[in-house]
């Protein structure tokens, strides 16, 4: 047992109960269907802008690119144009590969000590696979949801729906009947991937050690979102047209609460609202942050061009020569060695005068 994920799990359960009871017992459809979604959206937008603008003010004094290839130098040395880009075109390509296919994560290795003293690096691909499945599935699900926010539904969205429901899964038993409406692959992949990403944090001991409540909470929340969504589509079906009436009302600023929408729908919307409001203050901001990765988004031309620290200012210096000029006489008096003797006094004549005084 670990307080960090128990607390996160409890938080999501409490959120579920809050929305369910709020709608079912207290009849707060307006709160959970209109007010909270709008507030959450505003929080998301302002928080997101604030975080990005805050990051944009960060100083980037040096090129701190990490490379995975040969830097461009002499013409007869082949340089790696994507993994060590010297042009902005190369940087764009590297960023696209990073954002869409998580190449840095693909390079993830696991260190192991084998046969006593041998250190070996293994390719650790499952996190990359899980993350890729999760993010792409989430994106597809999100994109498909445009059908609730547009009327008529654009052809692109219909196309994605058709591709997503390509496999006609039919599962008919006495308890659960799945088949119509068509099974969307993305929803199930999302559920499986988020489960994997959670179990990984539970069962891999060193990952568990570094996992915090802020890692578990979004996972539980996204699981809740995906689960309620899948539930509404395949099991505890809701009146889709009524649900769309609500969402269309939100998106055209003429909010309505249609009758006969199941509380599960409000739970789903509440979970999404919480995720949106929580987003700018959490690790989920890597959505915007990945574009600002300083090790990825800069050209590696540290040899070709001189990069001067942009906030270098003229420093007032006091050289040793100036110092000696200022304190020469005092230094001689104290018997300290000086680089240059005073110009006026002549040491040859001065010595006998001094000896006379002593006499």
């Amino acid at each position: 047992m670990n307080a960090k994920y128990i607390v996160s799990l409890l938080a999501v359960v409490v959120l579920f109960l809050l929305a369910y009871v709020g709608v079912e017992a207290a009849g707060l459809q307006v709160v959970f269907g209109i007010i909270i979604p709008y507030l959450a959206f505003v929080t998301f937008i302002t928080g997101f802008i604030y975080r990005i603008m805050d990051w944009s003010r960060s100083a980037v004094p040096f090129r701190i690119t990490t490379t995975a290839g040969q830097q461009k130098s002499l013409p007869w040395i082949t340089d790696d144009k994507v993994d060590c880009p010297s042009t902005s075109g190369g940087v764009v390509l590297r960023m696209i590969l990073e954002i869409a296919f998580f190449r840095s994560l693909f390079r993830n290795t696991r260190m192991k000590i084998k046969e006593g003293t041998k250190l070996s690096y293994q390719l650790e691909i499952f996190l990359w696979l899980g993350a890729l499945a999760f993010h792409w599935a989430f994106f597809t699900v999100l994109f498909r949801h445009l059908r609730f926010f547009t009327n008529p539904v654009p052809v692109v969205v219909q196309l994605v729906e058709n591709v997503d429901s390509f496999f006609r899964v039919e599962f008919l038993t006495d308890i659960i009947q799945i088949g119509v409406p068509g099974v969307y692959l993305s929803g199930l992949v999302l559920l499986l991937a988020v489960t994997y990403l959670f179990l990984r944090r539970i069962f891999v001991s060193n990952v568990k050690y570094i996992s915090l409540a802020s890692d578990y909470f979004p996972l539980f929340l996204i699981f809740g979102i995906a689960f309620t969504g899948v539930l509404m589509r395949y099991y505890a079906k809701i009146d889709v047209t009524a649900a769309k009436e609500l969402t269309m009302g939100l998106v055209s600023f003429r909010p309505t609460i249609p009758e006969g929408v199941s509380p599960i729908f409000y739970v789903h919307v509440f979970f999404v609202s919480i995720l949106l409001a929580y987003f700018p203050f959490s690790k989920l901001m890597h959505l915007g942050g990945i574009f600002l990765s300083p090790t990825r988004n800069m050209t590696t031309d540290t040899r070709a061009r001189r990069h001067v620290n942009p906030w270098n200012y003229p420093v007032k210096v006091h050289t040793y020569d100036e110092y000696e000029d200022e304190f020469r006489e005092k230094m001689i008096e104290a018997g300290l060695p000086v680089d240059r003797q005073p110009v006026d006094t002549q040491p040859a004549e001065a010595t006998p005068e001094e000896s006379e005084e002593k006499e």
Binding site: I52, S56, P152, Q158, L172, V180, K237, G260
Partner: protein, 133 residues
């Protein structure tokens, strides 16, 4: 710094994407947020008062009913459906469902289009003789 311009441009693109459903409904397709289409019942459907199951159940679960009907007719050759009130129905989309709901364009298609649902029922049951305009 010169990066700031790029960051702000990226942020603007993100915001436009985020607001695209709002913009779509305000500028591109103004007035498209009409309420969900009303179900139009034929005289025969009105007279029958209730479908094979309650109206609430049918709005949400009619596809499951049809799927089960198809399964039981095609796989098990059982054509009679008995509902909770003991009333018997022949399991047939063309002959039972569309007998009352003979107005497919108004009864089925409008909601399906609204919710972007493209059921493959009509792949086979396309030339429905009972459909009336």
């Amino acid at each position: 710094m010169k990066d700031k311009k790029i960051i702000i441009a990226g942020l603007l693109i993100f915001l436009i994407i985020l607001f695209s459903p709002f913009l779509y409904n305000i500028f591109v397709n103004a007035g498209s947020a009409q309420p969900a289409p009303e179900l139009v019942l034929t005289e025969k459907a009105k007279a029958a008062k209730e479908c094979v199951r309650s109206t609430d159940y049918m709005t949400a679960e009619h596809m499951r009913v049809l799927d089960l009907w198809r399964h039981s007719v095609v796989r098990n050759a059982e054509r009679i459906y008995v509902n909770s009130k003991g009333k018997e129905f022949t399991m047939s989309l063309s002959n039972t469902c569309l007998d009352c709901h003979s107005n497919k364009a108004e009864f089925c298609d409008r909601c399906h289009n609204y919710a972007s649902v493209r059921p493959y029922c009509w792949d086979c049951h396309i030339d429905n003789p009972k459909e009336k305009e």
